[in-house]
Symmetry: C4
Subunit: 211 residues, 4 copies
């Protein structure tokens, strides 16, 4: 039985409008997915080229472990569908959200040499699942952007294994990925990480300058 896209679409559309208002999914950037079945794996994911502020059930397709569309027969999943599958499998996530904000774009470029950035000392870190103190040190991996999705999925897989504690990662000049056991938790992680990235960017170098 196909998932109830209309119900999922209502929630994703709400999230899309919210993120759109903050400028995190301009153009047709960003993509969202929700696990609708574990075995066999089925994800409801936003279609390619859809404005996230205007999502409808027609803008969502179901894909399998290979990121192939299983429902409806037609439709094109987001180009990054493979990455969503990797995250779901490596983290057992129930939802994956990709935003394309200004600060994640800038920091992913600024810190590429270090292959990531550390965020430490902020109370907001407690908004990340399992973090109980602002003294937590969160490492956010940064991967080189790549149009070869198979290769990039491999890089994402490796990063998720290497950085077991990470709640999010960045793609260079391509924005941020985070996830959650539930869609609500994933939304919270987006807001927490976006806040932290802006705070780091504005503090370490003024958020506007670097060498």
């Amino acid at each position: 039985m196909p998932p109830d896209f209309s119900t999922i679409a209502v929630r994703l559309a709400e999230i899309g409008r919210r993120f759109d208002a903050r400028g995190w999914v301009l153009g047709t950037s960003g993509n969202f997915s929700v696990v609708v079945n574990r075995e066999p794996l089925r994800l409801a994911i936003t279609s390619s080229g859809i404005s996230k502020g205007e999502l409808t059930a027609d803008g969502i397709v179901e894909i399998d472990r290979a990121a192939q569309v299983t429902f409806p027969g037609t439709g094109q999943p987001s180009a990054e569908a493979r990455l969503h599958v990797e995250i779901v499998q490596a983290r057992g996530a129930g939802a994956v959200l990709h935003t394309h904000s200004m600060w994640s774009t800038l920091l992913s470029d600024r810190h590429i040499a270090g292959r990531g950035l550390a965020v430490e000392g902020y109370e907001m870190l407690k908004g990340l699942q399992g973090v109980a103190t602002h003294e937590h040190r969160e490492w956010i991996p940064i991967l080189e952007n790549d149009q070869d999705m198979e290769r990039l999925a491999g890089q994402v897989h490796a990063a998720l294994i290497e950085c077991r504690g990470a709640h999010a990662f960045l793609l260079r000049r391509h924005g941020m990925y985070t996830w959650g056991e539930t869609l609500s938790q994933a939304v919270r992680h987006v807001e927490i990480v976006e806040f932290l990235l802006e705070a780091v960017a504005r503090s370490e170098r003024g958020g506007t300058t670097w060498p």
Copy 2:
């Protein structure tokens, strides 16, 4: 008789949506309280882990002087409930609001060495209760963040006694607390202080850089 949470929730929800739109309560950050009884002290306070942009009566609990829930039997008050109680007792406030904005987070870190920052010469200062001229000098204390709420409450108590004139204080990398005789006054104080913090941050060091 339990307080009319539905009425309080309607007002707090309105405030929550407003602050959320400005990015002052991202994730599930921020917490709000209103005094519903003085003797014995009873506060209606937002529950822990609630998105402030989507408050309902279910997201509010009543606590006593010890920050213990008195109504309903279940529910978890904000982790910082103790701080709200301290503020209400030290200032005789009728409402306490905690926001977690970008500028308060950045300034609380930048000025920690001085244990606070002075704001002077801004007309907006007149929006603070009892301030009649822009020539007023407002001292905003900054406290180290701490996960031990008893210890932190003690620090807050001491700061409120030491800085009798203060209308707000910051917790390092944890945002801002302000209050008012009424909820409306507390909302006004939030907007005034947030404006002043951004003005100070953008002027003294460009709001983006420091040593």
Copy 3:
């Protein structure tokens, strides 16, 4: 016959919500007035301490040339009512709008030594009444802030006479005043001037730093 405050309030409330959304009238800052009669002069002006995002007819009073309330018998006009009268008389304006934005606050402080700032070369200047080319040079006077309204009104009067071409002026760390033949024109001037101030602030010194 008293002016139709309900009609005026509807328009001012719309403007208030719009400016509030942009962060130009935080707290209870900012004030708006509309000429309802020329001879004798009568202005409908926002009351003191009103949140501009929630204006109603009750938040408006009618004043005369001396800034005394003529209708209703009760009510307190904005503390800066005298300035509105000066502007209306010196410019024959039909509406006066005062915003209290971040950029006008910062620039009014940065350029106080020069007693104003010049804006030149921006296409947006053409939005100012009577300006036909981006090559126009607009001088925006800046006055020291003052709690003595009689004295400040005198300064405003002198500045409006001295700078005959000015479409707006700033009060140090107190925001911006502009006006128009009609309320619509005054609204347009607010948006034009606020845009120009941000552009100047961000360009000349990065909008964030100065000596």
Copy 4:
């Protein structure tokens, strides 16, 4: 037969409200057009001096290849109507959108000496029609602003011929022009280009400072 302005107005009004919320069409800046007939050429274009956040069918006129109003008999097209015609003819566009944002205004001034700026390495570039990889190098020409529309139209024509691959251009201190085969594509291009300009501005020089 005249075009159905009411239908076009509904879509342009939606776009106007969206751009207005982002601060891209403050005052009465910005202008939008849609091709309603190819041979002979007819464009539906926003009238001069209209607030883009409050568009109605009355705020739109039809013009011909010479930018003369063909319907209704009265009404004044945007002063930049000639530029829209040039773009439609040089690119075969179905819609042209001009925004007047902060970042396009600042960058158009900063890079005038180079007569344009290059944007490269951003995933967001893929939102531009025909671009398949972030490794694409987009050149955005910048033209001196000019009140002589015939002369400026000639400059635009020359730039569009010279820079065949360009998806947008800037007018110095006057904002950005982009277009699309459809109105939806043009809207996407606005959001993509505005994002890229902010990213470039904030990265290359901190987005706030230059020599």
